[in-house]
Structures are given as C-alpha cells and as structure tokens.
Amino acid sequence: MDPKAPLFHDLEQALLEYDNDAAVKAAQAIVDGGLDVMAAVDVASAAINMVGDQFQRGDVFLPELMLAGETMKQCMAILAKGLGAQGGLHRLGKVVIGAVQGDIHDIGKNLVATQLGIKGFEVVDLGVNVPPMEIVERAEREKADVIALSALMTTSMPYQRDVINVLTEMGLRDKFFVIIGGGPVTVEFARMAGADGWAPNAPMAARLCERLVSNANRPPLRETVVQE
C-alpha cells in the first residue's frame, strides 16, 4: 500500500496540525477501507516525532505537543483495533504515570507522558496528587511495565519513595520498573529511594523507559539506571 495515498497524507497532516477530528476520521477511514494499517502507524509515528522535534527546537510549545499527543493516542486506539485482523500492534510497553501525592504540578508529568506516547508506549496518566496505594493498584490493574513518578516539590518527594516501599511490602516490586523525576529529584535521591531509573528531562525519560523494557534484567534493578 502506498503510504503517500490521500488518506495517509490526511492522517499525517491532521497530526501535524493537531486536528483531532480530522486525524480520527482519517484513521477510521484507513481501517474501514482495509488499507495497510501498519503503514498508517508508521506515518502517524513519523508525524508525531516531527512535532516532538519541533517542540525541542522551540518551534512549537507545550499545548501543541499535548494536543498532538492526545490526537495520536486516539488514532492509535483506532489503528490498533484495525490491526487486530492484521497481526496486532507492537507497543513498546505500558507506563502508568502520575504526579505523586501532595503535588499538583502537571507540566513535567504531561511532558513525559507525551514523549512516552510519541515513543510508542501505551500511557495511563493518573493525573496529579495521586496517593501511593492508588498508583500501585492502577499499575497492577493495567498490567503496566513501568511506573513513572513525578514530583516538583521536596515535600512530595517522600511519596515517590513510599510507592516503592508499598510495592516492596506488597510483594510487587518485581512486577514494575519504577522511574522517578522532577525539578528537585536528584539522581542521588533516586538511588536512595531504590528507583530503577532516573532522567533529567522528558525526552530522556522516554528513552530511559525504552531502555528499561528492552533490558534483559527484570526489576528491581541492583543499580539505578541514569539516562542523560
């Protein structure tokens, strides 16, 4: 199937213009028309990566990135259904992400969630101010591969460690990689808390998750992986 066919072009353009309705319509038409859904996934991934690059260069800003990310999420849900008949969609893994209890800052968490989506992860965003037990329960229910925890305040950082402690005490620590980050969260704190990974910014956090899930070693890792 020619990935330059009109519907593929429509999908690409809609993603580049953060036009949710048009993108969803194009994705659905591709599935309904029996076109090569995997080629559509490639087209959509390339488009969303372009938006990510534009953000890194400062050509577009956070709202555009978030809108493109949300549009991509909806398109992928449609394409994934379509792929059922064509062998299924390969995702890198599933990440449950949230800003921990006591922390209502969402920009950093949103950036990481969007970058993870761009990378090809399925992302379950729990929002902000999420208690440790709720994070653990959702990670279990979602059968997540990675738990990503954001904190922008020193007073919310203890809750990142609490999530790891809850996992350990409930005998679940070997089921999830745990990465932590945020303004005041240093690599030293990540090591002390027993996190599997730490990264200084959103693109690095996405690379970190890719590195963790493709690693042969299972959690908990003996040393915190630092992605810089």
Binding site: G58, F61, G102, I107, T154, T155, G183, T186
Partner: protein, 462 residues
Amino acid sequence: MAINREKLLTVLDRAHKGPICKQFDWDTRVIPRSIATKLKEYGLQKRCDPANPVNQDLELADRFFQAALDLAAEVGMLCLDTQRVIKFSREELLAGLEAAPAEFTLGDGKQAAMFRHRGLADPTPPIWVSPLSIAVSEDVFLPLVEGIAAVPEVDCLEGPSLQTVWGADLRAGSPYELLAGKLQADLFYEAIRRAGRTGIGLYAVGTSPTHYGVLGGYGIPGGYRPAHDIVLVLSQVEIKTSYENLFKVAQAYNCGGMTYGGSWSMIGGYAGGPEGSALSCIACTILLYNVYQCVNGASFPYDLHYMGNCGRSALWSLSLVFEALSRNTHLCLNSVLNQTAGPATEMLLYESAVGMTALAACGTTSCTGPRSAGGKYSNHITPLEVRFAGEVFKKAAGMTIGQANDVANCLLPKYEALLGQAPKGQSFAECYDVAALKPSAEWQGMYDKVKGEAVKAGLPLV
C-alpha cells in the same frame, strides 16, 4: 489592607457557579488560543528582542498591558477543584486593582519594611525578601537563617524550607505540614533573635506548599503574626487556582492578615513563547489581585528549557511584564528571580547581577530570591549570594532601563552558554564555616571578583 469579605464570598461563589471548563481544555485550547488571539489582535507577535534583554519599548509594554486586561476579562481564572472559571468584568478587574494598596508595611519596630509602588528608574530602594523556599536540613537551618537575617540588605524573610520536621520526612498534604507551619515560625524567631533582627516581616509558610502550613502556623499563639507577616498564596500555572489557595485566603481573612499572590508562566509552556508568557503573566497578575485581594505579588516568566529567567528571552519577557504593570497600576509588585547556578560559582552572582538590576530598573517594589542552583539541591543556599543580590537590587534603584540593558549585555556573555548546564556549586556547609558564619576564601574571592566585574559593567556597587 484587610481582606474584603464580600469580595471573598463573591470569588468563592464564582468558583462554584462559574462556567465549567475541563483542565485539559483550559491548558491546551482556552489559554493558548486566547493568548494567540490577543497577541495577534494587538500586534504583539514576534516582538522579543534578545539583543535588548531589558525591553526598551515602553509603548509596547503599555500595549501588552491593555491586551492582558482584555485577556484577563475574557478568560478569568480556573478553579481546579470545581473545574469552573472565576470570571470578572473588565470594570471589576480595574476596581480590584484600584482597591489594592500603593503601600503597606511588614514587620514592626526598627525592622518594619515599608513597601511602596515603584516606577521605572525609581530611586526608592526596593524591598529584598530572601531567600526562596529552598529545602534545608534541620541541622543547619538555624545558623543558615541567622546568617541570612544578619545580611543588612534583607528586609523580610520567606525561606528557606524545612526538609524534615524533628527528623521526620515532611510530606505535602499530611499532618507533618501542620506541624511544620509552627516549627518554621519557632525557628525563624530564634534565628532572627540571634541575628538581632527581631520584628522582621515574614512570608508564611514557605516550607508548606499546601494550606496546612498556614493553618498550622499563621495567626496561632506563637506563630506568624497577622499584623506583621503575610500569607503566601501561589497560584498554579497557567492562570489557575485551587481550594488550597482559597483556604489560605480564608485563613488570612479570619486572622485579619494580608496575602501575597504569586504565580509564573513558563516560556515554552502553555502560554507559548516569550511574548505569550509575558501576556499571560500580566493577565494573571491582574487576576491575582482580584481573586486573592493581595497587597503584594505578581506572576513572572521563566524558561521551561533551563528552568530559570536570567537568559535573554526570559529577561526580555520579565522586564516587559514589570514595565507594563508598573506603568499602568499602582501595585506593590513582587518578582522572583530564578538563578540556575549554585553557591560558590561565579555564574550565580552574574545571573543575580543581571536579573536584579533589570528588576530594580523596571519598577518592582520587591523581589524574592535567590533561587540558588535552581532550588534543586538541599542546603544549596548561603548568606553570601543573598547579600550580593540584595546589594545589587538596592544599589540599582534609580538606574534606567537603558542602563540595565547595558549591564545585561555586558554580563550575559559570561554565563548564558551555560544556562542549560549550570554548575551545581557547593552546599552551605561546603563553602561556609557554619559556626562562624563566614564564607570560604574561595567563595569570598568569587564574590569580590564578580562585584568588581559588575562595577565595570556599570553597577554602582561602591
């Protein structure tokens, strides 16, 4: 100025009955689209001039103010707990600004600090509120605060923050915060007694980001004093509030106290580039003074890519925000300067020299800072950078925006390439004799060197 009950009840009512708006729509559609529309309507697009990091176009600043007033009346402020918008008419907003005081006092006795509205190039010395709420361990908290309070340029204290409460982790939103509210007041009073600064005004409660610290420490016996100290109310980005903030206002009202209203906008974030961020900050400031009835404060921009506001575009945006607000209101405006380098680095001092000069020239009444090492590392704050920033801020009073621009252009090349990778520097204990409260020879040498360079750049520091 006492908080007006009728206005407070009106705000609470609108927080429950205003138009519904989901946060995702607010962040990704309402705010960016409204800002983009206003920038276009008022011809404010692509006006950032990195060659002049302190904005020189005052007509442009005035146009930004008018656009921001329109924006504030159009969008209002989103309450996160109810997902409803607290809206005001243009007339209500202007009346709210008019009702805010042009001067007020914090502290008492010999330590009383008079805050007055300042214009551009105003020779009135601005007020130095120091430091920001950087986390500090309990073992050095008292000597550090004593050292900072002993700096003569410091007029009021806000931080630092306690990292623990009697050895226990301080957790946001937990009972520890209630304990921390009172503990921080106790420690502040002991530190300022030791420093001979009893009576100095305090901002409450830097340690506790939620309302619990204020409930636990403000207006209770032995706690922060409503007649002399002020409640910190920090609004969420972008132009959002929450019950946490409104609890603080209600507690200030109950105690007969005053509020400080602060927020920020990230360049590269929801508001877009430096122009959008400036517009958002001005609009947010107008709303802060209406929603919180604050006597001091403002919203300020900083750059998402290096989490500071001492680079060219952020400085341009920062200077324009305060030019616009100073020229078009009588408010007692406060800014925050976000440095990125840590103590015992020349870069921290250069960032302070550039930023504090710009703020003094652009009409801020007060500034809170420094944010040494970006506020990222525990115990990375010392009295010496507090003193340097305060000296610059006070001595730069009376400088014009042209002179401030010259200083910025002279000193920015000394650090701007490092903004994304600023040095962490050293902790208080690493670069200070904690018992004697004396900086290391190396740190003192950096201070002397940068002060000399700042004088050469045109700052009247001698």
